[in-house]
């Protein structure tokens, strides 16, 4: 195994003057899934936003050996990091088709883009039936699928997923996580997953970290984290 795909050392992040992340260290292995767990307001979303250059951050962020801290959001995306944001961030007034085309905006290969769209419509048949429909009129689960599909159109090397379970019914959550598992297992897609739904996240992840008010309080193999007495009581509820 080579070095990690994403390596973060001493990450601080700020909203204006307020510091929200205090020196985080964590990694995502190439082909691995890392989960960041924590309660509301712990700094999970801020961590992803810091990686994508959407808020001011200091520290070392290395993506396949390249320092990316302080880069503009669009330049981070162009390096192959696809961020599926909180609230999904679909272009609600545009059609499903257009959303997918926008996902491939950094690519120039027309034939490859068309082929990828067909492949994804096969992968997400519900989206395939709604190509010309406005994204804003899709159900929550469909919008989440669209957000993931759009991220995949970038042909990313790393996906940043911000609460893919948010606002979805349990059955739909299972469906979304099945898709993520398949992407990881079959395509070797690396992921950094932020979740409140710790059960689902720990089943998918190989590494996990626990975030509390901007600090990482625990980290290790997802299996071990899931067995930890305190984690179980606080986040898994059994």
């Amino acid at each position: 195994m080579t070095g990690p795909l994403l390596s973060v050392r001493g990450l601080n992040a700020f909203y204006g003057e307020t510091q929200v992340l205090q020196g985080l260290d964590f990694e995502v292995a190439d082909g691995g899934v890392t989960a960041l767990l924590g309660a509301n307001g712990a700094g999970k979303t801020s961590t992803l936003r810091a990686l994508s250059g959407m808020i001011r951050a200091t520290g070392d962020i290395f993506f396949s050996g390249l320092s990316i801290c302080g880069r503009a959001t669009e330049e981070v995306a162009r390096l192959g990091i696809a961020h599926v944001p909180e609230g999904r961030g679909t272009f609600s007034r545009m059609t499903v088709d257009e959303n997918l085309q926008l996902g491939a905006m950094t690519r120039g290969d027309r034939a490859g883009i068309a082929a990828d769209m067909e492949r994804l419509y096969g992968f997400f048949p519900k989206l395939g039936q709604r190509r010309r429909q406005q994204a804003g009129t899709l159900s929550g689960g469909e919008q989440q699928m669209l957000a993931i599909a759009r991220a995949l159109m970038l042909r990313p090397r790393l996906m940043l997923l911000d609460e893919p379970s948010f606002g979805l019914a349990p059955m739909i959550i299972a469906e979304v996580f099945d898709i993520l598992r398949k992407l990881n297992a079959e395509d070797g897609m690396s992921m950094l997953l932020v979740e409140q739904n710790a059960t689902a996240a720990l089943e998918l992840a190989d590494q996990a970290y626990l975030l509390e008010t901007g600090n990482l309080v625990m980290g290790g193999a997802a299996r071990d984290i899931g067995r930890d007495e305190n984690v179980r009581r606080a986040y898994l509820g059994y």
Partner: protein, 292 residues
């Protein structure tokens, strides 16, 4: 009946002016999400450039297209030089800069070309169309060019990747960045296109209202009215709104006693208020539907 028809046609002719201006306003609104008060002065300045080029002996169409290119470049430059450093500033800072631009362009034009009224040629001639006296060939040409610009915009936004990227930037800048769109350049492109369309509008309007630094003052107001009536995010709405404002203004001036010529401008403002009250997204504007 003949009077009615005559007034409708005359209204369509002036409506063409407003439609042109409204298109430019909608363009910039799409790019920067606020109204550019200096839009009219930018168009006026472009028209002076065209006039100057013709004074130097260039033929009309060469001057016409050269002015479009120059205006496009100037629009991009204004964004990069003036507005890019302000991108995190508040809306009020932007408004102050719009007003500053307005004043600067207005007085600069007066300084360079003085405030005397100049005539500006029409490429379509000014004889009456089909000898009917209802509409001049220039009016018809102006409407035609406005429609061409509209079709070009439609094709650009609907069928090109850059157009798609610009629409994405306008509707959700944050998500646009996340898919790797260079949002700053999309905004600059929007400025360039708005300046270019404004230049077309100015050059078409100038033969009717004559060329002078204040030529755009009331037209900009009508342009705003047209854009609001049609919906600030719809180029088609802007054009339809422009013609509607032109026709309504003319009919009201003719058929409603007491309105006359004096209260025509009031009609435009009443329209703005009425549309904003009854249908805030405009006749063709799309209200945003969202399911969560």
């Amino acid at each position: 009946m003949e009077l009615f028809l005559h007034q409708v046609l005359a209204g369509l002719a002036t409506g063409g002016i407003y439609a042109c201006m409204a298109l430019a306003i909608v363009m910039i609104y799409q790019a920067i999400d606020s109204l550019n008060f200096a839009q009219g002065e930018m168009a006026m300045f472009s028209t002076f450039i065209a006039w100057q080029l013709m004074q130097w002996g260039l033929p009309y169409w060469v001057a016409f297209f050269a002015t479009i290119v120059i205006s496009f470049a100037a629009g991009v430059a204004i964004d990069r030089i003036v507005f890019r450093p302000l991108r995190n500033a508040s809306l009020f800072s932007h408004i102050v800069v719009f007003i500053a631009l307005f004043a600067i362009l207005n007085s600069l034009a007066g300084f360079i070309w003085d405030f005397s009224i100049k005539s500006f040629p029409s490429p379509f001639g000014t004889q009456s169309l089909f000898g009917s006296g209802l509409m001049s060939t220039h009016d018809a040409g102006m409407i035609f060019v406005t429609l061409i610009v509209l079709v070009l915009l439609f094709v650009f936004f609907r069928y090109t990747r850059v157009g798609l990227a610009m629409r994405a930037t306008a509707s959700n800048p944050e998500s646009a960045r996340l898919v790797g769109i260079r949002v700053g350049w999309m905004v600059a492109l929007g400025w360039g296109m708005a300046a270019a369309i404004g230049a077309v509008a100015g050059m078409l309007i100038a033969p009717v209202v004559f060329l002078e630094p204040n030529m755009m003052l009331s037209i900009l107001l009508y342009g705003f009215a047209a854009a609001v009536v049609g919906g600030l995010n719809s180029p088609l709405g802007a054009v339809v709104g422009g013609f509607a404002v032109g026709v309504i203004e003319n009919l009201a001036g003719t058929f409603i006693p007491y309105v006359g010529r004096e209260l025509k401008l009031t009609i435009a403002l009443t329209l703005i208020v009425a549309v904003l009250t009854l249908k805030p997204s405009g006749l063709f504007g799309r209200a945003i539907v969202n399911r969560v």
